[in-house]
């Protein structure tokens, strides 16, 4: 397939505005600004069928329509570059290798929704990305793509980078906004949604990096063209970061709906040392596990939901036959315990209990009843205040259900069967 999202990344100095312009960069923005009304842009994005790539899969055109309809001023356009989902590193590639595609996507979005100021909320762990983005932003100012009365129009837009400082929960859009306001990252109750009451309680569009990188393509080639790529009910190209026990870990661009099996075995080179594949988390640490029998599933939002898991960030985490599933689930739930903001009880206490019980099982000190308790804690966590707690139990509950034998082997054998000592 023709590379779309990754069309520039192999070029030398792809992060500079010269290279981006030479490849046709900022043409889509100029087209939007000069030939299209903001409503036209929203319609085109709606037509494309683009769904947000940050995890929730919300239709981008619809979000923009809501924001455009709100008349409170000023409005803010925020790019979510927090990329905190474990084993997700797709946005990093755009940020470091094609920052202008991101800026152009934001410009088009801000024009369509009437936003005056923009922020890129960048995770603190990406200092290299920060330098690249700041440089790219200053280049865009120099060329007149940012600032007041851009290219002689009435449209003005200022753009800044806001650095996070190490908190996964700040990827959740309302916690992100709290963090932009200088506070601890604790989610707000929804509704109101950020499009109506976000940063400083003003209308705020929050979109993921990858979502925005699609926008120039849609405007340049049309929403109809875009809607024909990949899965009909969830179209477009998708970036899949693949890691764990594959021969060629990396970010692969493939049409939405590509089979998980094809991504792992054809693109990522298969399993290291030609071992057997044991399990896959298909959509980051928050997704439910799939076994080796379940990997023919198409990678898109509806198909994975039907398979009882989720696309999430699209991060594919692969385990081979020598890896202990209990230990993997334990490590992931430890992550969530660390990142739980502590605001609500099901998540704060639930993650802690799951860590303690899994630690016991992994250490060979578990009892069979523990598995029941685990599943009931998982169920209770469904009632958490935000998406972190609602999904955090997935790697644990799903592995207990699908790899029960392995949990039982730990319990009955009194030790981890994968550990030599």
């Amino acid at each position: 397939m023709e590379k779309l999202l990754l069309r520039n990344v192999e070029k030398e100095n792809s992060h500079t505005i010269e290279v981006y312009l030479k490849g046709g960069g900022y043409r889509a923005f100029q087209k939007a600004l000069k030939e299209m009304s903001p409503e036209d842009v929203v319609e085109e994005v709606k037509l494309s069928g683009l769904r947000g790539r940050g995890g929730a899969g919300f239709p981008t055109g619809l979000k923009w329509e809501f924001a455009a309809a709100d008349i409170k001023e000023p409005k803010f356009f925020v790019c979510n570059a927090d990329e905190g989902e474990p084993c997700t590193f797709k946005d990093r590639v755009i940020i470091e290798k094609d920052p202008h595609a991101l800026i152009e996507g934001m410009l088009i979005g801000a024009y369509a929704t009437g936003c005056r100021y923009g922020y890129i909320y960048l995770r603190g762990e990406y200092p290299i990305g920060r330098k690249i983005l700041e440089r790219a932003i200053s280049e865009a100012y120099q060329k007149g793509f940012l600032g007041e009365n851009i290219l002689g129009s009435d449209f003005s837009f200022d753009l800044y980078v806001h650095s996070g400082a190490g908190a996964y929960i700040c990827g959740e859009e309302t916690a992100l906004i709290e963090s932009m306001e200088g506070k601890r990252g604790e989610p707000r109750i929804k509704p109101p949604f950020p499009v109506n009451a976000g940063y400083l309680w003003k209308p705020t569009v929050v979109n993921n990096v990858e979502t925005l990188a699609n926008i120039p393509l849609i405007i340049e080639r049309g929403g109809k063209w875009y809607s024909q790529i990949g899965s009909p009910d969830c179209p477009g190209p998708k970036l899949f970061p693949v890691s764990g026990k594959v021969k060629r870990p990396g970010v692969y661009e493939l049409p939405m709906g590509t089979k998980l099996e094809e991504i792992i075995f054809e693109h990522a080179g298969g399993i290291v040392k030609d071992r057997k594949l044991k399990a896959v988390f298909p959509g980051g640490a928050s997704s439910s596990v799939l076994t080796s029998e379940e990997i023919s599933v198409p990678m898109d939002f509806p198909s994975l939901a039907k398979a009882g898991t989720m696309l999430g960030s699209g991060a594919i985490m692969v385990l081979d036959e020598t890896d202990c599933i209990v230990n993997a689930a334990l490590r992931l739930i430890k992550f969530f315990r660390h990142e739980s903001c502590g605001k609500c009880t099901p998540c704060r206490e639930g993650t802690d209990w799951l860590v303690r019980i899994l630690e016991r099982i992994e250490g060979g000190r578990g009892v069979e009843e523990d598995l029941e308790v685990v599943l009931s804690v998982c169920e209770t966590m469904e009632n958490s205040f935000c998406g972190l707690g609602m999904a955090a139990h997935n790697p644990v509950g799903s592995t207990v259900r699908k790899f029960k034998e392995e949990y039982l082997a730990h319990i009955k054998g009194g030790k981890c069967p994968f550990r030599s000592s």
């Binding site: 084993c87 762990e125 400082a165 506070k183 764990g244 026990k245 990396g250 385990l319 992931l332």
Partner: protein, 160 residues
């Protein structure tokens, strides 16, 4: 950096006019402190609070909430070893143990000479290079245990 210089930096930050609300300068101000002081202490927090008109307790809450801010003294170089799934599957815990041994500290501690702080860290988005570690802003990918002394020496480690 002295406290007076820091106050000056926070004032300059405000003049940039990046945010329509002063409280949004809290994280940028904490970042300046993180980079220029061994730790974000109470005097630093008081300066931020008074310059931005944010209650001291809110500044302190923010400083303690985010994993990259140090409210305890840290070393000149912070070594972060990712132990999240892909790094764990590729051997990160043995890197962590080896670093503990080489530096003579436990995870979370700082070497006596004040050079290194060793941290176990969550995914840093470098999973295609697992196991990954960072030393301040520099990243090291697909790290092997044998390479650790060479990496440490780059930052002035005196051991062998």
């Amino acid at each position: 950096m002295t406290y007076d210089e820091f106050r000056e930096e926070v004032r300059k930050l405000k003049e940039e006019g990046k945010y329509p609300s002063l409280k949004s300068y809290t994280l940028p101000a904490l970042w300046i402190a993180e980079k220029n002081f061994p730790c974000i202490d109470h005097e630093v927090m008081r300066i931020i609070s008074s310059e931005l008109g944010v209650p001291l307790v809110e500044v302190e809450e923010a400083a303690r909430f985010y994993a990259m801010f140090h409210t305890e003294r840290k070393g000149k170089y912070v070594i972060r070893v990712c132990t999240n799934l892909s790094c764990m599957l590729n051997g990160s815990y043995s890197l962590l143990e080896e670093l503990e041994r080489l530096l003579g500290v436990k995870v979370g501690e700082t070497t006596k000479d004040g050079l290194f702080t060793l941290e176990e860290y969550e995914c840093m988005g470098l999973c295609d290079g697992a196991p990954a570690i960072t030393v301040n802003e520099e990243r090291f990918l697909k790290v092997k245990k044998e390479e650790l002394p060479t990496i440490l020496k780059k930052f002035g480690w005196k051991g062998d």
